[in-house]
């Protein structure tokens, strides 16, 4: 499928792609409230990349998904994660210094059954986002590399 797939598949991909991305970011952002989290959400976003690669073929997507950019994002996500852990050093490493502070993600959590407030969780939420960034970039690099490699094999077989 080097040149991409049929018009039907392309049209559907263009339609669904955005929804998958939004769903992935939703899972990342709600990691502290609902099942899922940074890793799972990142994997969903990366699956959208995989869908693009399968539908449009590697050569067309490479301009859109740059391996360099993704690997920078991957390292950035990891550095962000560990930075949040370091920022807790006032008490201990990994201390949740944001929660209950009243600021962003700092609302005290309600006790008992409640629908869940996005603005809680403190560093857990922030770390989920860092992990999400890392995972979507890392899995993105992996699917990109795999698709480039399989294309090379295809070319060799044709010769």
């Amino acid at each position: 499928m080097i040149g991409g797939m049929s018009r039907i598949v392309r049209t559907m991909t263009t339609l669904i792609f955005g929804f998958i991305m939004v769903y992935g970011f939703y899972v990342i952002a709600h990691g502290h409230l609902s099942p899922g989290g940074g890793f799972q959400g990142g994997a969903i976003v990366a699956s959208a990349f995989a869908l693009l690669l399968v539908t449009y073929g590697t050569s067309q997507i490479q301009s859109f998904l740059s391996k360099d950019l993704l690997s920078i994002l991957e390292s950035t996500g990891l550095v962000l994660f560990i930075t949040f852990a370091f920022l807790g050093l006032g008490a201990t490493f990994f201390y949740n210094f944001v929660s209950n502070s009243g600021g962003l993600f700092g609302t005290p959590s309600a006790i008992g059954v409640n629908p869940g407030d996005l603005n809680t969780g403190g560093t857990i939420t922030l770390m989920n986002m860092a992990v999400g960034l890392e995972v979507l970039a890392a899995l993105g690099v992996i699917v990109l590399t795999m698709s480039v490699a399989s294309e090379t094999i295809h070319k060799k077989e044709k010769q």
Partner: protein
């Protein structure tokens, strides 16, 4: 300053982790700096480890509660069992930590020149730093699930490092695959054992599980799983098939770290049997199982080593053989754990020998692998039949090789002699036959290294090696440091045994103190 040093147990793993993540970003701008960053970070980690060791050895065990409001608050909100991830550092843990720190730092120093010509250095150093982090984690953690996580990180990073230089023949990839299979099986079994503990006791903290250990049928299954896979990862004989491949195909500096990584698994084996189960298990049976594993490793390892002609493969078989000494020493200690008179008269001594041998082995086997790496760096071959007369060109490497070979063969005044003598003396009182086998293995080791020295360094200068030069400075520096440590330990073994090894042995034996560190009171 003191407030930052309070966090030293966390920083030991946090600094290499941060450096590992910064390396790929830095590598984009300046490729030269990343090797220095790795060496600098691991040097800093070494200093932190020494600081923690000083604290632990003077003031007793340290705990570090991750994410807690206070560093030492293991039981918040009046709970009766710990809920957070806790690092519990006693004399044994930090003893292993010191070995890891020295080995990882010197590996980074050695790599500066050794890996200079290679591509993909950012990945190399990221993996090396991750491997160091995971080894520290395995050795310092007091939480068994946390141990599993670091165990996995160690497996993944070392697999990638073993296969780092995939050549056309594909041998590194094959070794990496073999190691990957072994590692995944081990990790799964460890996870299964942890599940058995968690299902029964609702706890993941080692001290908490130890305090309520019932030694049920399920605990026996968990014990079998843990002993099997941890001795597999330590490279003891019936499960040693991955060791020669992985050790001989990895870059030399990495092989040195891999030796320390397999010792981290050995440490986990001792931690599980002594701190988690202790006297609840049938110490005589399990002790003898470990002794038999040790004797088999010693004997089969060395007999396999004698026939090798690949220098690193030969050394890898010797690494298996030397692991046998550690298992033998500590196994004897475990076998007499319930017999206070025997424990006092020779059990503790045997364990001191075994534990001291861990440190000695990491140093001299590290040195030997680095000299093998130096030979490979200059001659491009690991085949002993193609080498010869290299002492003419590489005087330093030849000297370091003599020191390492004498130490591994147990010749005074080098460190191998000190720990082996303690093992011979104490094991002789337990069972003379075991001691005699250990001595025989030592003689065979000497024979094997005489062969290596003869075929690599002695003889007339070969025509095609005329232009061979001594290796670059950073490699000489790393080897010289190890050689100095070996000679120092060999000259003053009493000092080391009394101040570092004996507290480590006592920390292993005294389970009550281990649990009391977390749960308070006795």
């Amino acid at each position: 300053m003191s407030s930052i040093l309070m966090h030293a147990p966390a920083l030991v793993i946090a600094l290499p982790l941060l450096a590992a993540f910064v390396t790929p970003i830095l590598g984009r701008f300046n490729r030269k700096t990343i090797s220095w960053l790795a060496s600098f970070t691991l040097g800093l980690t070494l200093l932190l480890t020494i600081f923690i060791a000083k604290q632990v050895l003077t003031n007793g065990p340290i705990v570090y509660v991750f994410g807690g409001t206070e560093i030492g608050l293991t039981l918040p909100f009046g709970y009766s069992m710990p809920i957070r991830i806790i690092f519990q550092i006693d004399a044994m843990g930090i003893f292993m930590g010191l070995i890891t720190a020295v080995v990882a730092f010197l590996a980074a120093i050695y790599s500066i020149s050794y890996m200079e010509q290679h591509t993909g250095l950012d990945k190399y150093y990221t993996l090396l730093l991750l491997l160091a982090t995971s080894m520290f984690g395995m050795e310092l953690t007091g939480d068994i699930f946390n141990f599993f996580v670091f165990f996995e990180i160690a497996s993944i990073s070392s697999v990638a490092l073993v296969a780092f230089r995939s050549t056309i023949s594909g041998e590194p990839a094959e070794a990496g695959l073999k190691y990957m299979v072994v590692s995944s099986i081990s990790a799964l079994m460890v996870l299964f054992a942890i599940g058995l503990f968690y299902g029964q006791y609702d706890a993941l903290n080692i001290a908490t599980i130890a305090s309520v250990m019932q030694f049920t049928q399920l605990d026996k299954i968990a014990l079998i799983l843990l002993v099997t896979v941890l001795s597999m990862k330590a490279g003891s004989v019936p499960m040693h098939m991955w060791t020669p491949d992985a050790y001989s195909e990895a870059p030399a500096a990495i092989t040195m770290v891999l030796v320390a990584a397999s010792q981290a698994s050995l440490y986990a084996l001792f931690r599980i049997t002594f701190s988690l189960y202790n006297v609840t298990l049938n110490t005589i049976t399990v002790g003898w199982i470990i002794i038999i594993l040790g004797v088999l490793s010693m004997f089969i390892g060395v007999t396999m080593a004698i026939i090798q002609s690949d220098i690193k493969r030969l050394m890898a078989y010797h690494a298996i053989s030397q692991t046998g000494y550690m298992l033998l020493g500590v196994g004897v200690g475990l076998a007499v754990l319930t017999n206070p008179a025997a424990l006092e008269s020779y059990g503790i001594k045997a364990m001191e020998g075994g534990i001291f041998h861990i440190m000695n082995h990491a140093m001299y086997k590290g040195l030997l692998f680095l000299t093998a790496g130096s030979l490979f760096y200059r001659t491009g071959t690991r085949d002993l039949n193609r080498m010869g007369g290299l002492a003419h060109n590489m005087a330093y490497t030849a000297t370091f090789f003599i020191i390492g070979a004498a130490a591994i063969a147990g010749i005074p005044p080098f460190n191998g002699f000190a720990s082996k003598l303690i093992i011979y003396e104490s094991v002789y009182q337990f069972n003379p036959l075991l001691s005699i086998i250990a001595m025989l293995v030592s003689i065979l080791t000497l024979a094997s290294f005489v062969k290596v020295f003869h075929s690599a360094f002695l003889g007339p200068q070969l025509e095609h090696y005329k232009s061979v030069q001594e290796v670059p400075k950073s490699m000489v520096l790393a080897m010289a440091t190890l050689a100095c440590i070996i000679v120092f330990f060999g000259l003053f073994p009493e000092l080391i045994v009394k101040h570092i090894v004996h507290p480590a042995v006592m920390a292993l034996i005294d389970q009550a103190r281990y649990t009391a560190t977390i749960l308070g009171g006795i």
